[in-house]
């Protein structure tokens, strides 16, 4: 305690009554809970089935910021000092959140160069859509793509800004948009020429130039391999394709990389690109160009494919075109290609093929650039793809389509060594199909699909990932073998489990009877965009193995059979709208990055300071810790409570608990160190008994094997959970009938607020449990397990994120004390839960184990108490 504070209390007697300070403390705790609830609420919105808008994000962040600000201020009142560094930290985090909310495309990475290995759609602003899609294919879906890096839009803005061109571009585009269609000579041609000239002649910062050349050298192994320099502008390969509008330069050596970079930048202002931009009303957004610099693939055969080609008479097909050598002339349409048309479902039956005579091919010129040469005689008239290669392409194409949730136009190549490399994937716009199944209906609306397939079930479940999937059911029993999971099936199983992550690349959809939309499996499903319905009740009973179904998770509906109209509708929506790529969804994900992660962990560590705060959660954690410490300090020095100084409770298990007695909670003669026997506080006595008498504290990490037989395996507890010094100061404020307990054990945080007395109507227990830094799956499993246990004891429970709250009211004293006894046991039991909850099966086992043990212990407790 600071001397200044001591003096403050000493100089101004009588001090603020302790009861008042305690009230302040309690209001801090209440706010703590409110903040965590808002954070949990926002996290839930990432899961399925909610509609929220920008306004929701703004309001939630505002509310959150407001609460956190008051929270910090409350601490100041309690401490009677202004914590400037903490306010500064708060302002810093708030500013970041505001920037994200303002939608000013705040680049989350300021790097001017990003390796492809770090790119995904989350960095689409930095790398442009084209390169971000390559990043998704490589880093999320695990397909080979060429190695390389991207010179970001951040670099573009920097370069343009320095050259004084950035504002000029914005003004020019705005002007052209406003005067669109006014007269023959609209000046676009001239403007385009001027802007291109300016870009081609502007100085590039030396540092950037050096960094690009260096990265290019490294990538090309000092010029041993050639590079492709490709455009990846904002908007390109997104809702609009901008196909062929911008330049790509092929076969570039490292010494030519800068002129190529410049050329691609300048192509942003080609006349045709500007006209396209204006014509499609892309006027509100500043043009920006990221540039991908990637290795050229020395292709043996390459080509393109459309995942979804509609024919008049039949179902849609996959169409592949291919030819020998590099893909550029194929995409340009300057050489003839072989064409294969295939079914969209495995085994991707060949519907038709056309093999042409292939005389010429484009190849890499080792000295730089490309050249056209003759195709060897023997290859000219044979198919350029083998059936195995075609199957590989189809399987890949369907996986990509499912992930991007759109029909796609994919560029690919098989290298000389035979491996498939994906070069690009962009949306393929489709016409929504008119549905003629019902003439009356088609007159009313030409867009809605007519679904007359029988509904197997509808109305139950939570969509963890929205989407439509059609395929055969694969019914999996608990703990069933995953190794032979068929490609393209829909997984139907009882529990959600993170172990399904490994088959997700193969499966089209997932349905579980139980599970949560915020669990680990759901997180992975969202990452890979596998349509997933959890908590669907009795899907495993209603669906049969091998049965063909169509799942629409947003509708919470499963149809019998393959509902082609629905699948088509899903792919052919006019606006190519993918929820995960909307501004709202991305903004939510981005603001949450500044809100929910907890990085301040150990109060004993020097890094536990406002300077190291990174998120709002960190601030909340910090304030809470300081408030508890302050209350203990205050009560040590506060005149009013001087007589009943905070005392250390000596318990059989190491809790590190300080007790402040408001009235009658401890034996009158209790000294500075209080043994358990001197605790008179009813709720605390029962809780301690549950914690110490049940043996729950000593529970070791045990392993549950397949047959659910237990084999005791001694596993040492992580040091964070066993070292009492790491626990910080734990606090109980008590009276004879009241207990307010704050307990941090390892990374777990427990709050108990209980009043148990003669007036039944006032009797209440609130129990709250939060976890810390363990991985997401265990955290959510733990929350579910704790809630299940509490419900067994008639608590009303609520789970928000990984926070569980249970409340119970108005039971007579003996019943309430039994609950406290159980809570004591639960606190002991949860100490080592994280290490144990490595599977859903383990959760079920531990629920039963706990209930059994607490029941046995309770009998002993009662015998003891009433004997």
């Amino acid at each position: 305690m600071a001397l200044k504070d001591t003096l403050f209390w000493w100089r101004k007697p009588p001090a603020v009554p302790f009861a008042v300070l305690f009230k302040k403390f309690k209001s801090i705790l209440e706010r703590n809970n409110q903040i965590l609830e808002i954070m949990g609420d926002m996290g839930d919105k990432l899961g399925g089935g909610y509609i929220f808008d920008q306004q929701y994000l703004i309001e939630s962040c505002e509310k959150l910021g407001d609460h956190v600000f008051k929270f910090v201020s409350d601490l100041d009142v309690l401490c009677q000092t202004k914590n400037v560094p903490l306010f500064t930290a708060f302002e810093r985090v708030q500013h970041q959140i505001q920037e994200e909310l303002a939608g000013r495309r705040v680049l989350s990475r300021s790097d001017h160069i990003l390796p492809i290995s770090e790119l995904t759609h989350a960095l689409a602003d930095e790398g442009g859509n084209k390169m971000a899609s390559i990043g998704d294919m490589r880093n999320i879906l695990d397909y080979p793509t060429p190695d390389g890096f991207v010179v970001t839009t951040g670099a573009y803005f920097d370069v343009m800004e320095r050259a004084g061109l950035r504002d000029r571009v914005v003004e020019t585009v705005t002007r052209l948009c406003e005067t669109e269609g006014e007269g023959e000579d609209d000046g676009v041609e001239e403007v385009a020429r001027e802007l291109q000239e300016a870009v081609l002649s502007m100085p590039l910062p030396k540092q950037l130039e050096k960094a690009i050349v260096q990265a290019a050298r490294k990538l090309s192994e000092d010029g041993h391999q050639l590079l492709a320099v490709r455009s990846s502008a904002w908007g390109e390969d997104g809702e609009l394709s901008f196909a062929g509008m911008h330049d790509s330069v092929l076969g570039v050596t490292p010494k030519d990389v800068i002129p190529a970079y410049r050329q691609v930048l300048a192509s942003l202002f080609r006349e045709r690109a500007l006209r396209y931009r204006i014509h499609h009303g892309q006027c509100h957004e500043e043009p920006a160009m990221a540039v991908g610099i990637i290795l050229m693939v020395d292709a043996h055969v390459s080509g393109g494919l459309y995942t979804y080609v509609q024919s008049k008479e039949s179902d849609p097909h996959i169409v592949v075109s291919s030819a020998w050598g590099l893909g550029k002339p194929i995409v340009d349409g300057s050489i003839e290609t072989d064409t294969f048309m295939l079914k969209r479902d495995p085994p991707f039956e060949l519907v038709s093929q056309g093999i042409c005579v292939k005389d010429a091919q484009m190849v890499l010129d080792p000295s730089g650039g490309t050249r056209i040469e003759d195709v060897p005689e023997a290859l000219r008239e044979v198919p350029s793809l083998t059936p195995a290669q075609i199957t590989t392409l189809c399987e890949t194409a369907m996986n990509l389509e499912r992930f991007f949730k759109r029909p796609l136009d994919v560029e690919w190549a098989f290298a000389k060594d035979g491996g498939l490399t994906l070069l690009q994937a962009r949306p393929l716009p489709l016409e929504p199909r008119l549905n003629v199944a019902d003439e009356d209906a088609s007159l009313e609306s030409q867009e809605a699909p007519i679904i007359d397939a029988p509904v197997i079930f509808s109305g139950s479940g939570i969509p963890a990932m929205e989407g439509v999937a059609s395929g055969p059911v694969r019914l999996l029993e608990e703990g069933g073998d995953l190794s032979d999971f068929p490609y393209g099936a829909i997984l139907v199983t009882h529990n959600s489990s993170p172990r399904f992550a490994k088959i997700m690349p193969k499966c089209k959809g997932i349905i579980t009877d139980v599970g949560s939309a915020t669990g680990h499996m759901a997180t992975v499903a969202r990452e890979l965009r596998v349509p997933t319905l959890v908590s669907a009740g009795n899907a495993t009973k209603l669906l049969k193995d091998g049965q063909i179904i169509t799942l629409d998770t947003a509708q919470l509906t499963v149809y019998d059979g393959a509902v082609e109209a629905l699948c088509h509708y899903e792919l052919a929506r006019e606006d190519l709208f993918v929820f995960e790529e909307t501004q709202e969804y991305r903004t939510l994900k981005r603001v949450l990055k500044h809100i929910t992660p907890l990085t301040l962990l150990d109060p004993k560590d020097d890094s536990f300071s406002p300077e190291n705060v990174k998120t709002l959660h960190d601030i909340v954690r910090y304030v809470h810790q300081k408030a508890v410490e302050k209350l203990i300090d205050l009560s040590e020095s506060h005149q009013e409570v001087k007589e009943s100084v905070p005392r250390k409770l000596i318990t059989r298990v190491p809790l590190g608990l300080t007790v402040i007695d408001l009235e009658g909670g401890l034996h009158a003669e209790a000294g500075e160190e209080v043994p358990e026997e001197d605790v008179l506080c009813l709720p605390l006595t029962a809780l301690l008994s549950g914690l110490c008498d049940t043996g729950m504290w000593e529970t070791r990490a045990v392993h549950v094997d397949m047959g659910s037989f237990m084999s005791s395996v001694t596993r040492t507890l992580p040091p964070s959970q066993s070292d009492p010094k790491r626990m910080g100061r734990n606090l109980a404020v008590v009276s004879e009938e009241y207990l307010n307990l704050h307990l941090r054990l390892g990374y777990h945080f427990t709050v108990v607020d209980a009043y148990i007395g003669r007036s039944i109507n006032d009797n209440t227990i609130m129990f709250r449990f939060m976890g810390g830094v363990t991985d997401f799956s265990r955290r959510s499993r733990r929350a579910t397990l704790i809630a299940a246990i509490l419900e067994q004891f008639d608590f009303v429970t609520e789970i928000k994120g990984d926070m569980v709250t249970g409340r119970i009211k108005k039971h007579p004293i003996p019943a309430m004390l039994d609950k406290m006894f159980m809570i004591g046991g639960l606190i002991g039991y949860t100490r080592q839960l994280d290490a144990l909850l490595d599977s859903e099966e383990a959760s079920q086992h531990h629920l039963e184990d706990f209930l059994h043990r607490i029941a046995t212990a309770k009998e002993t407790y009662h015998d003891h108490k009433y004997s």
Binding site: G49, A448, P454, V455, S458, D552, A554
Partner: protein
């Protein structure tokens, strides 16, 4: 893979409700959506279409008004607070033209004042943003039930 149609339809009729209206009712329920937040229409329109409804969506109140003057809808779902227009005015217009149309109001915040006023104007129900897709579908299904009862009774 062959599926036994007779068998599977027997199975589906044995399970709980949730038949799409298209499957049970030849005449499809029509919905007009109005919200100036594009995301709301973008998400609700395909959602209701797939559930078998006929849907028209608008981001601009004046366009929705123009539409309303040419034809009626069974259900109107509208935001209450929009830039440049008062959702309540739109609501009154709809009710004046088509007393049988049921209106669901989406609102970012619901004060008792607004609630009272719109219930006086005959609003069927409120949905407060953010909301669950399942909740609004449930709301529409209740309207359908009510309207069906009115037609039959």
């Amino acid at each position: 893979m062959t599926t036994n149609t007779a068998d599977s339809s027997a199975q589906s009729s044995a399970t709980q409700a949730g038949q799409t209206p298209a499957a049970t009712d030849r005449r499809r329920t029509s919905i007009l959506l109005l919200d100036d937040e594009p995301i709301v229409c973008k998400r609700l329109k395909p959602f209701f279409q797939k559930a078998g409804y006929e849907v028209e969506a608008y981001n601009v109140p004046s366009e929705a008004l123009a539409k309303i003057e040419t034809r009626g809808f069974d259900v109107v779902i509208t935001d209450l607070k929009m830039e440049g227009s008062d959702g309540l005015t739109f609501l009154s217009k709809v009710k004046a033209l088509y007393p049988d149309t049921d209106v669901i109001v989406i609102t970012g915040f619901a004060t008792t004042e607004v609630a009272r006023e719109s219930f006086q104007k005959g609003v069927f129900d409120f949905v407060t943003k953010p909301f669950k897709l399942a909740d609004i579908l449930d709301c529409v299904r209740r309207i359908e039930k009510k309207q069906r009862a009115r037609r039959e009774g």
